[in-house]
């Protein structure tokens, strides 16, 4: 229907990318722009420093954590690390949202915790650990938050098979439904 909306939309996140490239050039692995969003790929070791800079520098003032999550790309190994840990931050003052991505490999899924920088990262990091198994070092209490504490496995990983129970159709009754529950002709009246 005419002009694509992205052409008219300003690119968000450039402010953070520029600041990091200027002040902490070693922390930026690369930058990319897509769908009017600029993503800054940050090195794991300088994450806390970069986050503190983004929060405190008056040009950036990213004071609100939006979310922390991770995306699991198991087919990328061994060329690229398996997990993309995604941080989204918002600056209310400058009305801007930026995204930082830290890549961590499968055999070492550890990231420094940003709980000391924004208090809201506490629960988001616990959820990321719970569902994906990313370990946030320095978190005061990294426990499971959504699943029972004795749950095994991390459900949002691609190798975790999520399955409730088989759905019984007429053609697979033998293995889908236990003997006692299969429909049969009952004597008398059933309603």
């Amino acid at each position: 229907m005419g002009l694509s909306p992205d052409a008219a939309r300003p690119v968000s996140g450039t402010r953070a990318a520029n600041l990091l490239t200027r002040e902490l050039p070693d922390s930026v692995a690369r930058r990319s722009v897509a769908e009017s969003e600029e993503i800054t790929w940050v090195q794991r070791e300088s994450l806390v420093q970069a986050a503190t800079l983004l929060r405190d520098h008056p040009d950036a003032a990213y004071t609100m954590p939006v979310f922390v999550t991770a995306v699991d790309w198991p087919d990328r190994e061994p060329e690229e690390p398996r997990y993309d840990v995604v941080y989204e931050l918002r600056s209310l003052q400058h009305n801007d949202t930026c995204r930082l991505i830290v890549q961590v490999p499968d055999d070492d899924p550890r990231v420094p915790s940003l709980e000391s920088v924004w208090a809201g990262m506490d629960w988001h990091e616990r959820e990321c650990y719970d569902l994906l198994g990313i370990v946030f070092e320095g978190h005061h209490d990294l426990r499971r938050i959504l699943l029972p504490l004795d749950w095994e496995g991390h459900p949002l990983r691609k190798d975790y098979v999520s399955f409730g129970e088989p759905i019984a159709f007429t053609h697979n009754l033998e293995w889908a439904l236990p003997e006692a529950e299969r429909p049969r002709d009952l004597p008398g009246e059933t309603r």
Binding site: L147, P148, Y160, S162, F163, G164, R191
Partner: protein, 184 residues
């Protein structure tokens, strides 16, 4: 099949082979017990089903429809469910309204155990009856894996009229039961 397809399975037990008149267990017992006890039993059951107090067990979206059933337009207290008791120790029926996750399963069982006899369970909604649209690791596929259910109420969420129909069906079921204390 009633409104929204609520259904209660009832199979009459039947000895069958000998040429006896076709009566069920309860009719035979009632004939033995006599008229006064039968009336007393009916009275007790009438009292039980006419004031079914649910316990507050609203979990998810069905809880909102349960609250809508209890509020101004579809008034559930017309049918005896005057108050939703917060403590299960004071309740008769548990309307499991919503999806039961793996973490909530033991809690559900604990609340059910805390209810005194006689107690009944209405499984409201698709998620409580069978796991609903969530056929995954996190949801218990039907609360009848945890507690015994008397009435299943399908819908996502079921309309308030559906919940009222389920309560009425439960009342009919209770009218047909015999109180344990008066049986021989």
């Amino acid at each position: 099949m009633g409104l929204n397809g609520t259904r209660v399975l009832r199979a009459s037990s039947d000895a069958g082979t000998v040429a006896l008149p076709r009566t069920g267990v309860w009719e035979r017992e009632a004939a033995r017990a006599g008229i006064i006890t039968t009336t007393l039993e009916n009275l007790v059951q009438w009292g039980r089903y006419s004031s079914l107090w649910p316990t507050q067990f609203g979990l998810a979206c069905c809880a909102i429809e349960m609250m809508a059933t209890a509020s101004s337009r579809y008034d559930l207290s017309r049918f005896g469910a005057e108050v939703f008791r917060s403590s299960p120790r004071q309740a008769d029926v548990m309307i499991v309204a919503g999806r039961v996750s793996q973490k909530m399963g033991p809690v559900l069982r604990q609340i059910y155990d805390q209810m005194p006899e006689p107690k009944w369970v209405i499984s409201m909604g698709a998620c409580a009856s069978s796991g609903g649209m969530f056929n995954n690791y996190a949801i218990i596929q039907g609360v009848d894996k945890v507690v015994p259910v008397d009435v299943y109420l399908p819908g996502c969420p079921p309309r308030p009229e559906g919940l009222i129909d389920a309560v009425i069906k439960l009342q009919k079921k209770i009218a047909g039961e015999r109180p344990a204390s008066l049986r021989g």
